[in-house]
Amino acid sequence: MTPCRVVGGFAALCALGAAAATAIDLLQDADPRWTTAANLLLMPLAAVLAASVWRTGRRLVRALAALGVVVGPLGAVLGDHAGGTWWWLALETAWWVGVTQVSWRRRPGLAVISALAAASALVATVVTGLTVAEPIASAAGVRVAMTIAWLAWASVDLVARPPGRPKAASIPGAATSPAP
């Protein structure tokens, strides 16, 4: 087993744990420790995604993809207030935009889910930042459900396509024969 597979497997396991903690948080929502746990468990995945583009990606994409390393700990510190803090939600939106960019070629499914997760986080940012009244404010909660889907997909994707330098053949749509 290559180190990349081990790291990817560990990050995937943590992401699954984060998905479970977020799901319990959504269903029960009385204990902010679930929020904290979910954000802490998110960090290995965020680190793996950031590292996978650190040498190859454009500077802006690299910066956005690296935001996850900040979003996780900040979310853990904010705990119960994370989902109601507009600037944290804005950071999360930016991170997911970065992940969308990073994943576009090699992980199209993750890219789509990241894009939609970013959209839901953007809605939450606007609703929270502008203190929009209920019942419109309810739309901000879609972000939590999207987080669960994103974490679950990302963990499966990480196992199916371990991090590391992608081979040309593993990039769908890429040329597999030598250039003339």
Partner: protein
């Protein structure tokens, strides 16, 4: 799997996620939460156990004057020196946070809460039943009652055993729906089974959304004691409802749907009456704590 197919699956997953969000947007919490013991502060005035029952009106989505109404509830609980407070429609909102936590903190009481409807993370609002107690609580339990016609409306009962200086006292808070006679009967039967036949007194408070002469309540009254109806029939008057919490005192309540019941072992009712029937002067206007009146019961547990 091709890129297009993988992206399509991802879109389907997102659609399914949206469906899941709708399904969990209003569900009872998985289990009760709070501070069952060790959070109560202050000394009680001697005398029988003093119980307050109130449907406090969450007021979603406007939350009309919620902070001011919470202030009035705190003031009333402190004025009555209540030992036990049974509450329904206790909200969590972005602006106020958990109202049960605030009430417990400001009145110096232990507390348990279980969400009945909404979802704090899912739609930034939830409401449920709560028990506040000066006495330590244990054996906290709750049950989901049969649902009415609205798929997003759930009814629960929340129970705890309170360790009073005179022995255990059961406390139950509940909020039933008044959709139909059948739903009401099913919920009341489920509640009766939930309370069971403990060997100590149990005080059950709630908004039953049913009149005293409805068949399910008539049947229930053969097994449990309607505290207000039994001990103070002159005050067994309407407890519900006004449309406007700022309405002046001339606005009358129309029907009696809130009750305090006594079940299990017998206990002496030392006093009982409605509370918060009239609005209170706040600034230049009037403010009611809720669209419901509350109930106050003093129960003597000395044997």
């Amino acid at each position: 799997m091709t890129r297009g197919r993988e992206a399509a699956v991802a879109v389907l997953v997102c659609v399914a996620t949206l469906g899941m969000w709708v399904l969990v947007a209003s569900r009872p919490g998985l289990w009760p939460s709070g501070c069952e013991r060790g959070c109560a502060t202050g000394e009680r005035v001697p005398g029988p156990v003093r119980v307050v029952q109130l449907n406090m009106l969450h007021g979603f989505p406007e939350f009309d004057r919620l902070p001011g109404r919470v202030d009035l509830i705190v003031a009333e609980v402190l004025r009555l020196d209540a030992d036990v407070v049974l509450l329904e429609e206790v909200p969590w909102t972005v602006r106020t946070g958990g109202v049960v936590d605030e009430l417990a903190r400001r009145t110096g009481m232990n507390h348990v809460f279980r969400r009945a409807n909404g979802n704090r993370r899912g739609i930034l609002f939830e409401e449920g039943d709560a028990i506040l107690s000066r006495f330590p609580m244990r054996d906290v339990a709750s049950a989901e009652l049969p649902r009415g016609t609205d798929v997003f409306e759930h009814r629960i009962a929340l129970a705890a055993t309170l360790d009073t200086p005179w022995g255990p006292l059961g406390a139950v808070a509940t909020h039933l729906s008044g959709d139909s006679a059948d739903v009401s009967a099913a919920q009341i039967e489920a509640l009766r089974r939930f309370v069971g036949h403990p060997r100590y007194p149990v005080v059950i408070g709630g908004d039953f959304n049913a009149h005293g002469d409805s068949p399910p309540l008539v049947a229930l009254a053969r097994e449990w004691t309607d505290v207000l109806g039994r001990a103070n029939p002159a005050d067994a008057a309407p407890t519900c409802c006004v449309d406007d919490v700022t309405a002046p005192p001339d606005r009358q309540l129309g029907e009696r749907v809130d009750y305090v019941w006594l079940a299990g072992a017998t206990a002496r009712i030392a006093g009982v009456h409605r509370i918060l029937v009239q609005p209170l002067r706040v600034g230049d206007g009037w403010l009611r704590v809720s669209d419901h009146a509350g109930l106050f019961a003093a129960i003597d547990l000395t044997r």
